[in-house]
Symmetry: none
Subunit: 402 residues, 2 copies
């Protein structure tokens, strides 16, 4: 079964608000084997809402409409759904009594417009609201299942989980989901895709998704089957072809970020690392210490943003210019030795924005038996170059620890 989520409310069309109910609903629906194929936000406008719901009904079996069930004039979800489905609505006396009871318990009088909330679509099952006055509705037609839920998350979530989810589950064949999640470093999105597209494009199940950030690419596989073992087998069939193509460029298969992948290797070897940072100015240390428990393998380091601080760390004059192979090596070795770490990792380069050589970066690695440096060159703005430098330094150390 496929689903479209329509979120109703003009406030979600402003520059500061997003519809976050859809994240919760997607999580729950995916667990049932229902894919969300589209999401939509519409304002409190009857005509726009009606056409949006008509389109959703034509494009997915399950349509979930959130919000717009309140008592005010601009809460027009019921009217729009009734129009799109071509059904009538009428006041349900039981719901009206229930709403009146809520007001009585709060010691308040029910406003006239709260009666609008007792309007129920023809053929709908009522989903009572444990946290508010707006009831939800569940409508099954020949072609569609339509679910109306209140907008406030604290009303929507329990109503979905307790009332709607069991009804949906009962309509579905048993369905299991298997997933794989690989994180890859040292390869751009398009190179990676060229490499693995010949494999994954042959399969509709699992679905493969590629996500890219500077220096970091994620591959998600999601397979569906009636049986968990079958779903796992479908995932494995694709994974077993992709993984050898990527080899050691895969740094994690459980979602762990790169700094944690490096930390785990260090921990397994009983080793530690220290850093010397020039153009990254602390970003690399910040990445290492993002990982909880990093004190087991990260010792600290030196932010050597000026030549005098570089010289103080090395304990003498720079062997070459500030951005050079020899300086990167000397900084890495000095960080290792001064911090008493197994490994020293250095970054020195031009992050810009000004200068002829912006994007040129040397990364130095000093290990128990080796000292070397690698030059890299990127285009982009200062923040991109700095982020790429930190990520690449982490990845070079990871490869060295393999």
């Amino acid at each position: 079964m496929n689903a479209i989520i329509v979120a109703v409310g003009s406030e979600m069309l402003t520059p500061t608000r997003l519809d976050t109910n859809s994240l919760f609903l997607t999580q729950e629906l995916n667990g049932l084997g229902i894919e969300v194929v589209e999401k939509c936000v519409v304002g409190d406008d009857r005509t726009r809402m009606t056409t949006a719901i008509e389109r959703a009904l034509a494009n997915a079996r399950l349509v979930i409409v959130t919000g717009g069930l309140g008592p005010t004039e601009d809460d027009v979800t019921r009217d729009a759904v009734a129009a799109a489905l071509g059904v009538t609505q009428s006041v349900d006396e039981e719901v009206l009594t229930w709403i009146a009871g809520l007001f009585a318990r709060m010691g308040r009088t029910m406003a006239e417009n709260n009666k609008r909330q007792a309007m129920i679509l023809q053929g709908a099952e009522i989903l009572y609201n444990q946290r508010g006055t707006a009831p939800g509705q569940f409508i099954q037609t020949r072609d569609n299942v339509v679910l109306l839920l209140p907008g406030p998350p604290r009303e929507l979530k329990p109503m979905f989980s307790e009332a709607a989810l069991p009804k949906l589950r009962a309509m579905l064949p048993p369905m299991s989901i298997a997933t794989r999640w690989y994180r890859v470093a040292g390869m751009g999105e398009s190179d990676l895709d060229s490499l693995i597209a010949p494999v994954y494009t042959k399969y509709e199940n699992p679905v493969t998704t590629i996500l890219a950030k500077p220096g970091d690419v994620e591959i998600h596989l999601r397979a569906r089957a009636t049986d968990q073992a079958d779903a796992e087998r479908l995932c494995s069939e694709v994974a077993d072809q992709i993984v050898p193509l990527l080899g050691e460029r895969i740094y994690s298969d459980d979602g762990a970020p790169l700094e944690l992948a490096v930390g785990r290797r260090l921990l397994a070897r009983g080793e530690t690392v220290a850093v010397a940072e020039s153009c990254t100015g602390g970003l690399l240390g910040g990445r290492f210490t993002d990982a909880a428990g990093s004190s087991a393998w990260f010792r600290g380091g030196y932010i050597v943003y000026t030549v005098p601080l570089k010289e103080a760390l090395i304990g003498g004059p720079l062997p070459d210019t500030a951005v050079s192979e020899a300086t990167a090596q000397a900084l890495a070795a000095a960080a290792r030795d001064r911090a008493g770490a197994t490994w020293g990792l250095s970054v020195t380069g031009f992050a810009g924005p000004d200068g002829d050589d912006v994007g040129s970066v040397w990364i130095g690695i000093a290990g128990p038996n080796e000292v070397f440096a690698k030059q890299l060159k990127w285009i982009g703005d200062r923040s991109r170059i700095r982020a790429l430098a930190a990520t690449t330094a982490l990845n070079l150390l990871r490869l060295q620890l393999l």
Copy 2:
């Protein structure tokens, strides 16, 4: 003019990702007097995308499609828009040369599939991408304006602001906008709102928006009028009431981030700063060096993640426990002295996740004439505590420099 934003990408239909580009675009469009009447997220599915775009074209004059312009098989935005508009597309040799040039400058070979990015829709104007390989496209038909933008925010934002916005503005009746942008530190969102809401809620024009991040709140005012002087006058009327209420908690009125606000003050005084970081592990140095030109006032520092490194920096045993007033003071003074800076700024604390005292942090400041430390206590996860610690350290130094 009305707009519909269609965000393309299956990853935004998962339980973990939202389309956030639409917030930026809505802000910018509202500034032109364009209202966003609907937003939609569709997966990388040619048929669904085509029908979604057809519906958008029928329901709004301006349709902005974000994402799906990459080189991979699942980047099918160009095809879907061409189908919805009923136009052809062809390889633009100039764009192809430009993309090939980008790869050449990076010393890489252009992958065959990158050529897909040179496919331009009939009648489209090309919007060159300063931060990536995917060009944007601007298409004007009898009934619609269609804008194709790349998905990554760092590519989308400058392309929209620099290339698309002037074209849109030229199509619209003259409208003047005046804005004010204040950034505030050391105050939570709800306290700030309680203080200034009695002022801004009296005005519909300018529109006031409050945005909050940990330790950092932004206030945006935006006034519209046919004449620039009138728009400025409307903004000033509200600003002149808000600014005195916030006083020195306002650290910037031109959008400058906190680290740059601190850097400018140092620069004006001809002074410099160095850091000693324990629980922030480099984040503070990373913040300082985010600012271009920071080498004029930031010297560097010491990531003292372990007790031996703290002792090595101080040049003797710790005066008290690792997280204490005396240690924070000693670290700040040692960073100042060793780096030869005017100011030393230190952070030592418990970022968690484990321990009885998670969220307790000492920040030390050593200046030309003073050494002191301040204790802070936050709740939240490791990343929130670390971010708050770095932001608060920056703000304490800023207040000291006033």
